[in-house]
Symmetry: C2
Subunit: 309 residues, 2 copies
C-alpha cells in the first residue's frame, strides 16, 4: 500500500505580541512521521519515543485528525502511523500541532491531494482541540505553510503567508510544566483599551517589519503588554533570560506559545548560539534541567522525505 | 523676509481597525498656507475663510505650534501665517492636523530645516492637543510623511511609512456635529480580550495587505469590532452607506477619524465616483447637507508650492 515519510517542523506561536494570530516554523527541533494507507479502516498508531502519548486513535491528536478525515471523506481505508517525536510534548514548541498537521498533511498526500491547504488546516485543528480544548491554528498554520503566518480568521479559515526574514532563533525549554489550558485560564477576559492600542501598534509594527525585512523594527515591536505580564509568572527566570538576551544582542523575544519555552530572535547564528548557552546556564544555576535549540526559520513547512505511491 | 507657500493634504485617521495608530493622506481636499518669517517676535494669523477659527496664537492650532517652536528653539523671529482652509473643521478629515502640521513644516523650512521629521511631528502634536485634548499623531504623521503611516509609538515618536497602494477614496462629510472629545468619551475603557484578538487579526491583515499591495486582503481586513460599533451611532445613515458602498464594489471603509465623515476605498476611480454620488443622495433624501470628495492617496505629504529664501 501507499506510504509516505514526512518531516514536520516545530513552531513558535504568538511571536510575543501576536497572541492567537501569529506563528513561525523553525527547522530545529522537528518530528518525523511515517504513514501507510491501509486496506482496512483501522487507525493504528505507533510511537518510537517514551513520552507515553496515547495510541488509541480517538485520544491521540494525530489519530483524531485521521478519524475526522476518514469520516468526512467517507473513505474505507485506514492509516498506520508511526511518530518519531522529537518536539517534546508540553514544550510550547507546537508538539501537538506537529502531530496533528503531519497527520492531516500525510493523509491528504496519500489520498491524492484532494484537500485544499485550508482544509488540511481545518482537519489538523481537531488535534489542537483534543490537546488544549481550543480549535486554534496559530501553530498548525506555520507548520503547514512554513515561514511566518497570520491566522486572520480561523472560522472561516483565512491564513496569510508573510515574508520569512533571515533570522535565527534560540529557544530554551525548561523542564517545568505549564499546561496550555492553565496558561489560557489565567488570562483576563477584559483588558484596557489603552493596552490594546499599545498591543496593536506593536503587532502592526511587527507585520510591517516582517514584510519590509526591517530587523530593527521587528525587534522594537516584540513587546507584549497583555499576555506576557500574566503568563511569564509561570516561567522561572523569565525576566532574567529576557534581560540577558537583550544584553547579548537579541532582537527580542518572549514566551513560545503558552510556554514554558522561551525564544529569542537574532540576526546572526553566533548570537543565537550565545543566547542558547546563556539560557542553559541560567537554568543550570537553579538546578532546572533544560533543552536548548538554535535554528533558522523553516520556510517550507512540512516536507516529504520519501513517498511510495 | 523669507516666505513659503505650502499645500497640506487632508488625512483619514484609524483606517477602520487601526484606532489611534494608522492614518492615510489624500489629495482632496487640501489646505494652502503661506508663512512669512518676521523680524519681530509676533505671531500673526489670517484666515481667508469664514470658519471663524481663532486668530489669537495661543488659541489657534497653527499658532500654538509656532509658539512652541519659537520657545523651544529660543528664536527671536516671529511668523505671519495666512491659512486658506478647505478641509472643513470638525469633518474628521484632519483639519486641525493640517493646520498644525503645516505650521510646523513651514516654520522648519523657514528656519533652514533644523528639525528632524520626528521633531516636526512632535511640535505639530501641540496643535492636536489644543484641538482635542489629546497629543495624538495619527493625522499629523500621514499629513507630513504622505501615504499610509503607522504611529507605532507617540512617546517616543516612532513612525513607520507603509506602502501606499494605488487606491481611490470616496468620502462624505454630512453636516452634523461630532466633537472629537465626545467621540472619544463614549468609548469603553475596557474591552473583551476576544474582541481585541479579532481586532489585531484585522490590523495585521490590513498591514500585510498594504505592504503586499493585496487589495482583497485590505478589503477583508477593514473591520472594526471595537470602535465603530460605538461611534457609528453618532453618524446618521452610517450602516446604510456602508452596506450600499459594499454593494457598489467598495473594498471597505468606515468612519474617518472620529467622524462624522465616512470614507470608502475602491480600486477604480469610477467606483469611487459612484460611491460619492450614492453617499450624497443618501443624505439628500433625509435633508442633511453633505460634501463629498473623490481622491487618490497622497504619496508625498505636505508639498512646497513656492519659497523665497
Amino acid at each position: 500500500m501507499k506510504n509516505i515519510k514526512i518531516k514536520v517542523p516545530a513552531t513558535i506561536a504568538n511571536l510575543v505580541c501576536g497572541f492567537d494570530i501569529l506563528g513561525m516554523a523553525i527547522n530545529e527541533p522537528y518530528d518525523k512521521m511515517e504513514v501507510k494507507l491501509l486496506k482496512t479502516s483501522d487507525i493504528i498508531i505507533h510511537h518510537t519515543d517514551d513520552f507515553g502519548l496515547p495510541v488509541e486513535a480517538s485520544k491521540n491528536v494525530a489519530g483524531i485528525v485521521l478519524m475526522k478525515i476518514q469520516e468526512h471523506l467517507n473513505i474505507k481505508n485506514g492509516f498506520e502511523l508511526t511518530i518519531h517525536k522529537h518536539i517534546k510534548p508540553g514544550s510550547g514548541l507546537g508538539s501537538s500541532a506537529a502531530s496533528a498537521a503531519g497527520a492531516a498533511f500525510a493523509a491528504n498526500a496519500l489520498l491524492g491531494n484532494i484537500l485544499t491547504k485550508e482544509e488540511v488546516v481545518h482537519f489538523a485543528m481537531f488535534g489542537e482541540e483534543l490537546a488544549s480544548g481550543v480549535r486554534h491554528a496559530d501553530n498548525i498554520a506555520p507548520c503547514i505553510y512554513g515561514g511566518i503566518t497570520l491566522v486572520k480568521s480561523s472560522d472561516p479559515i483565512d491564513i496569510i503567508s508573510l515574508n520569512a526574514p533571515a533570522l535565527f532563533v534560540a529557544a530554551v525549554h525548561p523542564q517545568v510544566e505549564v499546561k496550555t489550558s492553565d496558561a489560557r485560564q489565567i488570562l483576563k477576559k477584559n483588558i484596557q483599551l489603552k493596552d490594546a492600542i499599545t498591543q496593536w501598534g506593536n503587532i502592526a509594527g511587527l507585520i510591517a517589519g516582517i514584510e519590509k525585512n526591517d530587523l530593527s523594527l521587528i525587534g522594537r515591536s516584540l513587546n507584549d503588554v497583555i499576555v506576557e505580564p500574566v503568563r511569564s509568572i509561570l516561567i522561572p527566570e523569565f525576566e532574567t533570560i529576557k534581560r540577558k538576551s537583550l544584553e547579548l544582542g537579541a532582537l527580542g523575544g518572549g514566551i513560545s506559545g503558552s510556554g514554558p519555552s522561551i525564544f529569542m530572535l537574532a540576526e546572526k547564528k553566533e548570537t543565537a548560539q550565545k543566547l542558547a548557552h546563556m539560557m542553559k546556564s541560567v537554568y543550570d544555576q537553579i538546578d532546572i534541567d533544560s533543552f536548548v535549540y538554535v535554528s533558522d526559520v523553516n520556510k517550507t513547512g512540512i516536507s516529504i522525505e520519501e513517498q511510495n505511491f
